[in-house]
C-alpha cells in the first residue's frame, strides 16, 4: 500500500476528518509556494494537493485558471514543481503530497519518467483530471510502479455500475466530486454529497474525500459530516489572493486553521 493511502486510512481510523488543501504549483512564486506547502502542514492538513499548472485547464473554474496562468507566466513547469516539493520536504514537509494535473504536461514530462521523478521528489500520489478510468491504463501502471497512489474521480453523474471499474484503478483515496461543475463553481448540497459518498462506500473502504465547492468552515463541517474529509482549493487560493509573501502564508494558515477547527468540532461532537 502506498504511503498516501496508509496515512489517510490511519487518519480516518483515528476518527479524524481528512483535510486536503490544494495549491497551484509555483503560485504566487516559487518561494511562497514552498512556504504555503509548509503552512498547510502547520495548519493541520493531512495531505496536500499540488497543481501542476496547464495552459488549458478545462475542469477548473476562474480562480484556478487565474493562478495557473500566473504560475505559468512566472516559468513554472512540471519539473520546477517537483523541485519545489523536494525543497519543502527538505524543510520539514512530512504530510503526503499528491500531484493534480492534466495529462498533457505529464506526457510532455515523459509519462512514466515523470512518475519516477515525482516519486523521487517526494510526491506520494497523482491525480490526472482528464484520465478517466477508460484511459487510466496508459499511465496508472507506471505511477503504481513508482510507488505513487493513483487517485481517480467519482462524480455525481457517475452511475453506480461504473463505480467498481473506477475503483479498480484507484488507490490512495477516492476523490468524490461534490457537484457537476468545475472547481470552485457551485455550492454542494449535503444530501447529494451524502448520497454520492454512500454509493462509493458500498464498493470500497478507501477514504472518500470530497472536493469542488467546499469554501468555508460551515461547508467543510457539513461535507465532513457525511464523508471522510474535504479538499479545498479555489477558496484557499482566494483567501491568499491580494496579499503576498509572509502575509499570504499567514492568510493560508488562518483560513485552513478555521477549516481544521470546524472539522475537528464535528468529529468530536
Amino acid at each position: 500500500m502506498n504511503r498516501l493511502e496508509q496515512h489517510l486510512r490511519a487518519v480516518r481510523d483515528q476518527g479524524r476528518k481528512i483535510l486536503v488543501p490544494f495549491l497551484t504549483g509555483g503560485y504566487q512564486d516559487r518561494d511562497t509556494f514552498v512556504r504555503l506547502l509548509l503552512a498547510c502542514q502547520d495548519a493541520g492538513a493531512d495531505a496536500v494537493e499540488v497543481g501542476i499548472p496547464f495552459s488549458d485547464p478545462s475542469a477548473d473554474g476562474p480562480v484556478i485558471q487565474a493562478t495557473s496562468a500566473t504560475a505559468l507566466e512566472a516559468g513554472t513547469t512540471a519539473d520546477t514543481v517537483l523541485a519545489d516539493v523536494a525543497a519543502a520536504r527538505a524543510r520539514g514537509l512530512e504530510i503526503p503530497a499528491v500531484a493534480m494535473t492534466y495529462y498533457n504536461p505529464v506526457l510532455a514530462a515523459g509519462g512514466p519518467g515523470f512518475a519516477r521523478r515525482a516519486a523521487g521528489a517526494g510526491l506520494d500520489g497523482v491525480l490526472v483530471v482528464d484520465l478517466p478510468a477508460e484511459e487510466a491504463g496508459e499511465f496508472a501502471p507506471a505511477a503504481r510502479n513508482a510507488g505513487l497512489g493513483t487517485v481517480l474521480l467519482v462524480a455525481p453523474t457517475t452511475p453506480e455500475a461504473r463505480i467498481p471499474g473506477v475503483l479498480a484503478r484507484c488507490s490512495g483515496f477516492v476523490y468524490c466530486v461534490s457537484v457537476a461543475g468545475v472547481t470552485g463553481d457551485k455550492r454542494p448540497a449535503a444530501d447529494t454529497v451524502a448520497e454520492l459518498v454512500a454509493r462509493v462506500r458500498r464498493h470500497t473502504d478507501l477514504p472518500a474525500v470530497v472536493g469542488f465547492g467546499v469554501h468555508d468552515p460551515a461547508s467543510a463541517r457539513a461535507v465532513g459530516a457525511v464523508s471522510d474529509g474535504v479538499i479545498v482549493g479555489s477558496a484557499l487560493l482566494r483567501a491568499v489572493d491580494g496579499c503576498t509573501g509572509g502575509a499570504a502564508v499567514a492568510a493560508a494558515r488562518s483560513f485552513l486553521g478555521g477549516l481544521r477547527a470546524a472539522l475537528d468540532k464535528r468529529a468530536g461532537a
Binding site: A59, L131, V166
Partner: protein, 398 residues
C-alpha cells in the same frame, strides 16, 4: 457498458480524455448515436433536411479557367459554399441538433472561432426551437462582429470568453466547462472531427455526404474517379467530410494546413507539420505545444483554421501516409482567394483558399489527363474585411 475499456482510438490517437463527470454523457451520446444510425426514420429525416433546408446535393463545378492558370489536370470544385449559411458546417449541426432533440435535450451549446460553426448551430437550433448558447473568444468576438450579430438574430446567446488567448481553443475550454455544469440537460455541438469519442466519428458521419456526393458526381462527369482530392485542414471537418468516400480508392488525398506567416516563423496553425503528440479537448492528437506541454497559440489569417490541434482520425491517416499533408501561408491563401474570384466568379472562404493555394501543384503533378477535386468548403463574404485589410498593406507589415 461497465468494462471501462478505451474507446474511439485511431491508431495512437483519439480516445476519451475528459474528467469523470463527462464520461457518462459521452457514453449516453454514443448509445443515442448508434440507435439513431440504426433508425430509418432518423436517417430519412436527416436526408430530407439536407435536401430541403441545407440545399443538397451541392454541385460539382468544373473550373476550367482556374485550371488554365496551371496548365495541368481538370479541376472540379465541390460547392459547399452553396449550402445554407454558406459553409459545410450546417451538415453537421443539423445532424447533431436532430440528435439532441431525439435525446430530449432542450438546450445546445457550441464553441466557435470565426463564427461559422456558431452560426450553423444557432441556425439549426432555431429551426428546431432549442435554446442555444455559443462560446466565442473575446478576440474573435471583436474580429468577427458580423457573425456575432447573425447568431444573435438567430436567437442564440453569444458569450465572449476572456480567458487564455481569447480565441477558439479558449472558447472550447469554456464550452466544456459549461457543459460539465449542465450536462444532464445540455447537448454540446462540436463543430469539427475533434474532441472526445464519439464526436470525431459522429461529425464524420454527418459530413461524409460531401464525399459521397462528390464521388458520384465525378463518376457522372468524368466516367471515372479523380486522381486526387484536396481539402483544407484545421480540425478536419471538411477534409473528413470529403475523404472517407475515397479512402478505399486509388485516389490521392491531400490536406492543406495553415502555415500562417510560415511554419519556420512559429506563427502558424500546422499541427501535423510542426506539432507533437499530446492531449487536449478530450483527444490525443498532434498539438502545437512547448517542451513542457503547454499549448501554444495558433496563428492563421483564416479564423476557421486558427486551432492548435487536429482531429484524431486525420492525424492517424497522416501518420499512416494515406493522407498527404501540405501547407499554405496567409499570403498564398489570399492570392488563391483572388485567383478564384477572377477566374471563376466565386469568392471562397479563406479556409478553402488554403486548399486552392495548393491545387495548382496537384494539377501540374497529375498532368493534362488528370482530374482533381477540391472541397470548396465555404464562401468568402465573411472574409471581405480581412482580405481588404490585407490588400491595403496590413498583411505585408506583419
Amino acid at each position: 457498458m461497465t468494462d471501462l475499456q478505451p474507446r474511439g482510438h485511431y491508431g495512437p490517437f483519439g480516445g476519451q480524455y475528459v474528467a469523470e463527470t463527462l464520461m457518462p454523457a459521452l457514453i449516453e451520446l454514443e448509445r443515442a448515436l448508434d440507435a439513431a444510425a440504426d433508425d430509418p426514420g432518423f436517417r430519412a429525416e436527416f436526408r430530407a433536411l439536407l435536401a430541403d433546408y441545407v440545399g443538397r446535393p451541392t454541385p460539382l463545378t468544373r473550373a476550367d479557367r482556374l485550371a488554365a492558370e496551371f496548365g495541368g489536370a481538370r479541376i472540379y470544385l465541390k460547392r459547399e459554399d452553396l449550402c445554407h449559411t454558406g459553409a459545410h458546417k450546417i451538415n453537421n449541426t443539423v445532424g447533431q441538433v436532430l440528435l439532441a432533440r431525439r435525446m430530449g435535450k432542450r438546450r445546445v451549446i457550441a464553441e466557435t472561432g470565426a463564427g461559422q460553426h456558431g452560426v450553423a448551430t444557432a441556425t439549426a437550433a432555431a429551426r428546431f426551437g432549442l435554446g442555444c448558447t455559443v462560446y466565442m473568444g473575446a478576440e474573435d468576438v471583436r474580429r468577427q462582429a458580423p457573425n456575432v450579430e447573425r447568431m444573435r438574430l438567430l436567437g442564440a446567446e453569444v458569450v465572449p470568453v476572456a480567458a487564455g488567448s481569447r480565441t477558439l481553443k479558449d472558447a472550447m475550454n469554456e464550452a466544456i466547462r459549461q457543459w460539465v455544469s449542465r450536462v444532464e440537460t445540455t447537448f454540446y455541438v462540436i463543430g469539427s472531427v475533434a474532441g472526445p469519442h464519439p464526436y470525431p466519428r459522429m461529425v464524420r458521419a454527418f459530413q461524409r455526404v460531401i464525399g459521397d456526393e462528390a464521388r458520384a458526381q465525378c463518376l457522372e462527369a468524368e466516367g471515372r474517379l479523380p486522381d486526387a482530392v484536396v481539402a483544407c485542414l484545421g480540425g478536419g471537418s471538411n477534409a473528413m467530410g470529403i475523404f472517407p468516400a475515397f479512402l478505399d480508392d486509388p485516389v490521392d488525398l491531400v490536406a492543406v494546413e495553415a502555415a500562417g506567416e510560415g511554419v519556420p516563423t512559429g506563427r502558424h496553425a500546422a499541427a501535423i507539420a510542426a506539432g507533437r503528440v499530446g492531449v487536449l479537448h478530450g483527444m490525443k492528437s498532434y498539438f502545437l505545444q512547448d517542451d513542457h506541454g503547454q499549448i501554444l497559440e495558433a496563428h492563421s489569417i483564416s479564423a476557421g483554421l486558427d486551432y492548435p490541434g487536429v482531429g484524431p482520425e486525420v492525424a492517424e491517416l497522416a501518420r499512416s501516409g494515406r493522407v498527404r499533408t501540405a501547407a499554405a501561408t496567409d499570403a498564398e491563401a489570399v492570392a488563391a482567394f483572388h485567383r478564384l474570384a477572377r477566374t471563376e466568379g466565386i469568392l471562397p472562404a479563406l479556409e478553402s483558399a488554403h486548399a486552392l493555394a495548393r491545387v495548382g501543384d496537384l494539377a501540374r503533378e497529375k498532368g493534362p489527363d488528370g482530374v482533381v477535386v477540391l472541397n470548396l468548403s465555404g464562401r468568402g463574404d465573411k472574409d471581405l474585411a480581412t482580405v481588404l485589410a490585407w490588400d491595403g498593406g496590413e498583411g505585408g507589415q506583419r
